[in-house]
Subunit: 376 residues, 2 copies
C-alpha cells in the first residue's frame, strides 16, 4: 500500500479489505488508494483521511476528479441527523466538507430534521435546536465558510422543487426494493428514504442552480442508500436529466472501548463540546493496543491497529504523517508505552478542544446567517 501513494500510514490496509470486501467484490465499490496519485495531481495534497486509508473506497470518484480538472461544476452533498451531540465521528465528515469547500466545490449540507422527528421520534424543537447549535455551529467553528456556493438546509424548510422530487421519486421505487435496503418499512421510513434520495439528487436541478457533478462522502454502511439514489437517478435520467452521484466510503470512528462511537454511548464518545478535562479523562480510560504488562509491551511492542488512541491521532490529532509514523514505530517497537502515549494524546486533545470551543462560542452567533430554521 505505502508504495502506491507515497509516505502513507495505512495500518488497517488488510483489515479494511477483509471488513469491506463485500463492497469491493459484489457492489462495485473501488479502492480509494488507487486514485491517490490522481487526487494529488488534481487537488494537491490529499486530505489526511485520504492519505491514511480512512477513506478507503469510492464509486465514480474518478469522474469527480476529471470534472474538477476540466473546470466543470462539482458539489459535495452530505447530511447530519440532529439526534445527539456533535462528536469526533461527525468531525471526520466535517473535515471532508471543508476540504472540498476549500478546493472550490459547492457544498450542500442537509440537516435531516424530518427523519430525526418522524423516524427517531425526537421532539421537533429539540431537533431544530440541535441542528442549529450542535451541527451547524460546530461546522462553522471547524472552518465551514459562508459563500454563495454553500447551502445548508433543514429537510422540512427547503424549496418546493425539492419536495416535488420526493413526490416524483415515489413513482419509480417499489416497496420491495426499499425493504431490501431498510427492512420492514413504516410510513416515516418510506418518507425518509425518498427524502434522502432528493437530498442527494436535487443539486442537479435547474431550480437549484443547474447541473453539478455530485459526490457524497459516507460511512461504509451507507452504500445501500447510495445504490438506491443511483438507481433513482437512472430511472429519472430521461425525464429530469439526473446523473448518478459519486461517493466515497470512510471507516467509522471507533468508540473509546473499541465498539462504535455514538452519541448514545457518551462514556466512549468524545463530543466537541465536552469540557477539555472531561474529554481528557475519557481518553485516559480508552482501550489501547497495549500488552498485559510493561515488560511484555517492551518486549513485544504495542498494537496500534487495535488502539483507539492511535486512531484518534490518525483521524484527528496528528496531521503530520512523519510524526504519526514515528509514534507508530515507537509503539510497535515497545519504546512508547500506553501511559505516556495517552498523556500526549490528552494534551493534544485538550489543546484542540480549547481552541475549538473558543471558535464555537463565536460560531453560535453566526448560525442563522448560514441556515434558516423551520418556523415549526
Amino acid at each position: 500500500m505505502e508504495q502506491q501513494h507515497g509516505p502513507v500510514i495505512d495500518p488497517w490496509g488488510t483489515a479494511v479489505r477483509l471488513e469491506y470486501e463485500k463492497l469491493f467484490q459484489y457492489f462495485g465499490v473501488k479502492p480509494f488508494a488507487e486514485l491517490l496519485p490522481r487526487v494529488r495531481e488534481a487537488f494537491g495534497e490529499p486530505l489526511h483521511l485520504m492519505r491514511r486509508g480512512v477513506i478507503f473506497g469510492h464509486r465514480d470518484f474518478d469522474k469527480i476528479i476529471e470534472a474538477y480538472k476540466s473546470g466543470e461544476r462539482v458539489a459535495l452533498v452530505t447530511g447530519f441527523m440532529p439526534s445527539g451531540r456533535f462528536h469526533f465521528g461527525h468531525k471526520m465528515v466535517a473535515d471532508q466538507i471543508i476540504y472540498y469547500q476549500r478546493l472550490g466545490f459547492e457544498v450542500f449540507v442537509v440537516i435531516a430534521d424530518a427523519e430525526a422527528y418522524a423516524v427517531r421520534k425526537l421532539p421537533r424543537e429539540k431537533v431544530i435546536e440541535t441542528g442549529l447549535y450542535e451541527y451547524v455551529a460546530n461546522l462553522i467553528a471547524l472552518g465551514l465558510e459562508k459563500n454563495k456556493h454553500t447551502h445548508i438546509y433543514f429537510q422540512t424548510n427547503y424549496e418546493t422543487p425539492y419536495y416535488r422530487l420526493i413526490q416524483m421519486f415515489s413513482r419509480r421505487v417499489t416497496m420491495a426494493e426499499m425493504e431490501a435496503i431498510y427492512g420492514k418499512l413504516e410510513p416515516a421510513k418510506v418518507m425518509a428514504a425518498l427524502t434522502q434520495a432528493a437530498d442527494i439528487l436535487h443539486p442537479q436541478l435547474e431550480h437549484f442552480g443547474g447541473f453539478r457533478h455530485v459526490v457524497v462522502p459516507v460511512g461504509a454502511d451507507q452504500d445501500p442508500h447510495l445504490r438506491l439514489a443511483r438507481d433513482i437517478a437512472d430511472r429519472f435520467e430521461h425525464e429530469l436529466g439526473l446523473q448518478r452521484p459519486a461517493s466515497t466510503y470512510h471507516r467509522f470512528q471507533t468508540g473509546l472501548d473499541g465498539n462504535k462511537m455514538s452519541s448514545s454511548r457518551p462514556d466512549y464518545t468524545i463530543f466537541l463540546t465536552d469540557p477539555p478535562e472531561v474529554a481528557a479523562k475519557k481518553l485516559m480510560r480508552a482501550l489501547t493496543g497495549g500488552r498485559a504488562t510493561v515488560e511484555e509491551q517492551r518486549r513485544l511492542g504495542g498494537e496500534p491497529e487495535k488502539c483507539t488512541i492511535y486512531e484518534f491521532y490518525v483521524y484527528h490529532l496528528i496531521m503530520d504523517d512523519k510524526q504519526l509514523m514515528k509514534i507508530y514505530e515507537d509503539c510497535r517497537g515497545g519504546r512508547l508505552l500506553c501511559g505516556e502515549d495517552k498523556r500526549y494524546a490528552a494534551e493534544l486533545l485538550t489543546k484542540f478542544l480549547e481552541e475549538h470551543q473558543r471558535r464555537l462560542e463565536k460560531a453560535k452567533d453566526k448560525v442563522l446567517d448560514y441556515v434558516e430554521p423551520p418556523s415549526f
Copy 2:
C-alpha cells in the same frame, strides 16, 4: 322524509339508507336530511344536492353550521385528480364549491397532480395541462370566483409548511393502518395518502392564514380517507392544534348505462367539453326506468329511481323542485314516456353545454390568474 325538510324529492331515500347503512351504523356518519332545517336557517336555501338527498350524510357538519352562524372562519377543502376530462360527476363537486364560496366560505381546491403522476403513472405534462385546462377552467366557467379566500394549488407546487406537514404526519401513522384503508401499499401510495391528509388539514395552520373550521365534501367511498385525516388531526392536536375536519357525503353520479360515471368510460359519461350534439346523442341512448312496452309503461308507470335521465334532472338539469316533482309524478303515472323525456333532457343539456362552453373559452384565458402551475 319529505315532511322533515319541506318540498323535497328524495326518490332514493330508502335505497340510500340500505346502500350506505354501514356508514351510518358502524362509522358514525349521520343523515344529512336531519340538518336541513338548520342549514336553511344558517345558509338560506340549501343547495339542490342537499334538498334532494344527493348529499345524504355528514360528520360534524352541525359544527360547521354553528361556526358559520357565530361568524367564525369556515373553509371548504376539496380536490380533483387531473387524470381525465371533467364530467358531470365533477360538476356535482363544483356546484358544492361554488355554493359554499357564495356563502362566504374560504375555498381550498387541490389539483392532485402528485398522485396522478406517481400513483396513476400519467405523464407530468399531461397532468399539469389537464389540471389547468380541464379542472380549473371548468370550475371558473361554472362560477368559481377569484378572491383572496380562494386557494387553488397543485400538490407539487405549494408552500413549504404543507410539505412539512406531510413529513410530520408520517411519524404518527402506521403501515398497518394505512393498508387497512388502501390495501397493499407501494411508496407512491404512502406518499399520496399522507399528502391527502395534508391537503385536508393544512388550512388550519398559522402559515396558511390561521385556523378555520374545515368541511370536506366527498363521495361515499372516500370516508376511510376522512377517518384517517380525523385520526391524524387527533394525534397532532396537542402539537399543531389541529382539529378534526367535518365532511359531507354524496351519492355518485351514475353512468348512462347504470354503472359508474367515469372518464375511462366515455360512452356512458358526459363531459362538459363534449360537443352538445355528441352529449345529446349519448343521452338519447341512456338507460331509463322505462317498461318493456309503451302499453305497459302507460299502465304501470316508469321507474324514475332507476332512470339515469331522471338522475341528470335531479343533479344538474332542473333546479326547480316543483318542476322536478311534476316530471317524477308524470313518469310514475305513465303519462310521460321515455322518448319524450329524453328529448326534453337533451334539449336542456344542449342549452347548458352551449352556454357553459362559451364561458369555458373565456375561462381558459383566466386559468393562470387562479393557479400557478409547477415549473416541471
